[in-house]
Amino acid sequence: MNRYLPLSILALAILAFATLMLVIAPGIQINARPAPEGLRPYTEAEARGREVYVSLGCLYCHSQQPRSGDQAPDGERGWGRPSVAEDYAYDQPHQLGTMRTGPDLLNVSARLPSEGWHLTHLYQPRAIFDWSIMPSYPYLFDHKDTAGPGDVVVALPAAHAPADGVIVASQKALDLTAYLVALDRTYPAPTNGLRDHGYGSSEGPEPTPAEEAR
């Protein structure tokens, strides 16, 4: 191989082909699917909370993509039905995640709907689970002598409560909690939802190309 131009063109052509296969084709396929009826866009508070979730890097320990029962017992753990591409119609940036240092959170609200629980858990996870290795987020809360009007006081066991005064949630903590209690995609999956059926599927066979076209 002695020539620069053919080398460059072929190298770029191969990358373009990979981009077609991994980016463009799946993108067209995914974008053709409408948002499911059960899914609503985030409210303003939830969207702000999602920004907090993104900026603190929750993604690096929590996935948002329950697997199917054919592959893993995610459903039995209460993490929800296998998610489909349509479930993420309003997510930007996506937070699918690749790590489960902590549990999957796509449907965390379905099993933990209490705002108070999440505030306590964010302030000090070990106030609830002594085995947890999740960071605590004390800077999302304020330490006050007494709670003012409208303040949300965090319930804490004696071991983790301050010696005097109360812990109240900041706006960021309230927004983040609003996002967490909105994470519930347990509505019925759209028929022929788009996902990796490579482990077999309890929901019936993969749609054929012809069905897909319709």
């Binding site: 191989m1 002695n2 020539r3 620069y4 080398l7 460059s8 190298a11 770029l12 990358l15 990979a18 981009t19 296969m21 991994l22 980016v23 084709a25 799946p26 993108g27 067209i28 396929q29 995914i30 900026s55 603190l56 890097g57 993604l59 690096y60 993509q65 199917s68 893993a72 489909v84 591409a85 479930d87 993420y88 119609a89 309003y90 997510d91 940036p93 996506h94 937070q95 699918l96 690749t98 790590m99 489960r100 240092t101 996870p125 070990r126 689970f129 085995w131 290795i133 960071p135 987020y137 004390p138 800077y139 939802g193 788009l194 996902r195 990796d196 490579g198 190309p209 897909e212 076209a213």
Partner: protein, 525 residues
């Protein structure tokens, strides 16, 4: 819009196979002339059969070296940009390692350093990744490219000042990116956290690196482009395309964004860091030993195989996820196909080293580079197996993946770059390392540290994955059983970080305490 999925999959296979068939035809018909003689083009007269270990060994001054005035004139031009790239890369390595170590310790000391948001695990980990990828690995890799490209093309580096401007801009962009991440301003996807506004500065800096390299390549004074050149010239085109396409703001959302994310993230490894590491090893292993690589024709298969198969493996990060089955399967198949190019590289590099084991005693840089090359083979084999659906069910979402990522990016690319820095810097400065024993200390600290790191996370990761797959065991078990392995990882990580400090000390020693080399081939400008 009717997308016929099976057809897409079949098309990919057919194109890949057709390209391979074309390649075999081209080689057998000498359309692409590659013969064993071309492998010897990297040597000047009299260099073959001699170890090239200037400046890194004790008692080095008495050894005779071949003086190549052509190479010396070429090196003199590349010297300053390369020194600056390597020096600043090392700063990011040390910072990135410290952030990595802090992140590692936070996983078993969760209430440590928790008083402000920049210190939280999610940001420390992200700082670690971005500083070592964009700061350390990209800059040290580019240093290696800037050094090797002019040498194999027999022309001095064109526009060396533009490279200096690029280095300044790139370092500013990495620093700004780090500050953005620490303050919580992020694009929010793994490997793409640096905000796109700062990415534009990175792209501008990248252009300042690429233009001089393309100009140098076009002005080359050789008939044959040596194998390292194929990898480097392709990588400097691939990376900008990947980087710009993946960072276009607002274009992608939802699961589509996830496929873009992993197309990008795995190609940063496959089409950027890997070619930098493999290309460097392809030049330095034979150069140091003084013998050409074992089978030059096979290297061609390795290169095009890498381009064809590595570019499509990204979606194996989403196995079992909400993405179309066919695209997952496509990536799994290509992951397995990676055995081919990896074996091709392995035949060349490992056999060349194995036939000349004596040289490992003579040259510490060679020790780093051949260890790194071996780890490339290991990381790729592991990656191909890890992409199999059955294996992935266990290892996905666990620390096993973290160990694998470090086998590739650290034990392979970083360690090759350590060796390259130790080879290049004495020649670029005309000095010898003042404390050769510390080079060996560096080697043993990072290899032993890495072994502790890798085996603890690999074993722990498998146990974690098995625990998560067993519905009768509560999730908490998968967390608790990991703790001793996470502590062991911190010990390994500490040794690695200590090794990086020794590396920095060696570079400072070369800068401030080094005896001038008696036969300095390069007069610093």
């Amino acid at each position: 819009m009717p997308i016929t999925l099976g057809l897409m999959l079949a098309l990919s296979f057919v194109v890949s196979l057709a390209a391979l068939a074309f390649l075999i035809w081209a080689i057998s018909n000498r359309q692409i002339t590659v013969d064993q003689g071309d492998a010897e083009t990297i040597f000047a007269d009299g260099e073959q059969g001699r170890i090239d270990n200037q400046g890194t060994e004790a008692g080095d001054a008495e050894r005779r070296h071949v003086f190549d005035p052509v190479a010396a004139g070429i090196d003199a031009v590349s010297a300053r940009p390369v020194i600056i790239l390597l020096g600043t890369a090392t700063v990011w390595l040390v910072l990135g390692s410290i952030f990595g170590l802090v992140a590692s310790m936070k996983l078993h000391l969760p209430d440590w350093l928790n008083q402000s948001a920049p210190l939280t695990f999610g940001r420390m980990r992200t700082l670690h990744l971005n500083l070592v990828i964009y700061g350390w690995l990209s800059l040290s890799g580019l240093a290696s490219v800037m050094w090797i490209i002019p040498r194999i093309f027999h022309v001095p580096l064109k526009s060396p000042r533009l490279v200096l401007i690029g280095a300044v801009l790139w370092n500013i962009a990495v620093a700004l990116g780090g500050l953005a991440i620490a303050s919580g301003w992020t694009d929010g996807e793994e490997w793409l956290e640096i905000p796109w506004q700062i990415d534009m500065l990175l792209a501008a800096a990248g252009a300042c690196f690429i233009a001089p390299l393309v100009r140098t390549a076009r002005a080359r004074d050789v008939h044959h482009i040596y194998v390292s050149g194929w990898y480097f010239l392709a990588a400097i085109l691939w990376f900008p395309v990947l980087f710009i396409v993946a960072n276009i703001p607002g274009l992608y959302s939802g699961v589509e964004e996830a496929t873009v994310n992993w197309w990008f993230a795995h190609n940063v490894l496959g089409l950027w860091l890997t070619p930098l590491g493999v290309g460097t090893a392809y030049y330095l292993i034979p150069k140091i030993i003084g013998r050409p690589i074992y089978s030059y024709a096979v290297s061609l298969l390795g290169f095009w195989g890498l381009a064809l198969f590595y570019s499509q493996v990204g979606i194996h990060h989403l196995i079992g996820g909400p993405v179309p089955t066919w695209v997952v399967t496509l990536s799994v198949v290509h992951s397995v196909m990676m055995f081919l190019p990896v074996i091709a590289v392995a035949i060349n590099q490992h056999v060349t080293v194995a036939q000349n084991l004596w040289a490992l005693k003579e040259s510490v840089p060679l020790r780093f580079i051949s260890f790194g090359a071996l780890m490339y083979t290991m990381a790729s084999f592991q990656g191909s197996i890890e992409a199999l659906r059955s294996v992935n069910s266990i290892t996905h979402f666990t620390h096993y993946t973290v160990a694998h990522a470090h086998l590739g990016a650290y034990a392979f690319v970083s360690i090759v770059m350590f060796g390259a820095a130790y080879y290049i810097l004495p020649r670029a400065t005309g000095r010898a390392f003042p404390w050769p024993g510390l080079l060996k200390a560096h080697f043993w600290l990072v290899t032993i540290g890495f072994a502790v790191y890798f085996f603890s996370l690999t074993i722990g990761g498998v146990l974690q994955g098995l625990a998560m797959l067993d519905a009768t065991r509560p999730f908490s078990e998968s967390v608790e059983l990991m703790k001793p392995y996470l502590e062991a990882r911190s010990i390994g990580g500490s040794l690695m970080t200590l090794g990086h400090l020794v590396f920095a000390v060696n570079l400072l020693g070369l800068a401030f305490y080094a005896p001038r080399h008696t036969q300095a081939p390069v007069a610093a400008e």
